[in-house]
Subunit: 132 residues, 2 copies
């Protein structure tokens, strides 16, 4: 499997764990040696595995857990680091996410996730706003 | 200079180029060999140096250019990749950003920027929302 395919598979496993509410899979997906961080929409950034995993536990184990579907993923390889930029659909809301993976013990493990609500999908007009 | 300090210096140079409207500095800061991407708030994701730099040219050279001030940066090192998560103040709006840098030709160069409007700063309550 190419590095790109491996990173996209890990990215898919992240969304599958999210969709399935599978906390064990989510926990296993995040890096254990490399530093980790996470920015959920509407939350302040979190740093460190304990905080990041604790937040996922709350999200995945406390209903209502929103359905989630990824699309439009684009991967960039930077040696042993892979970056996936893509969209997420949660209910009627579209988000854009940056997911970062690192090669750790032969597996691609997550080190960072930032998701933010957007109204700009690949098919929408490339309108320019004044706010950078 | 430590890797962390080098990455934070590059992150500072990014915001200085933004604040100063210095397109030459901004252009020089982005990687030339590694793949690049950028997600501005309210825009669809952009991939590739030509699109990313073209957008920065529009932002920096077409008034009104918003004032910008970074704060609360946190850096994570992943070998030859550095990730900075931090806040940006643009006018009365607070954004949270993920900035990714790669070591290229002995310099830390930018490969990705995602910024999104947030109402959660380090001092704000860690309120939980249902939207992950």
């Amino acid at each position: 499997m190419s590095d790109e395919a491996g990173v996209l598979a890990a990215n898919g496993a992240f969304y599958a764990a999210f969709a399935d509410g599978d906390f064990g899979a989510m926990d296993g997906l995040w890096a254990r040696k490399a530093p980790v961080a996470c920015v959920h929409p509407g939350w302040p950034p979190m740093q460190g595995r304990e905080k990041v995993i604790g937040a996922w536990q709350g999200i995945l184990q406390n209903p209502p857990r929103p359905a989630i579907r990824p699309f439009g993923e684009h991967v960039m390889m930077l040696g042993d680091v892979g970056v996936v930029v893509g969209f997420e659909i949660i209910g009627n809301v579209t988000l854009v996410a940056t997911n970062i993976f690192v090669r750790e013990d032969g597996a691609w493990r997550m080190v960072h996730h930032q998701a933010a609500i957007t109204d700009r999908t690949p098919g929408s007009a490339d309108a320019r706003r004044s706010l950078h």
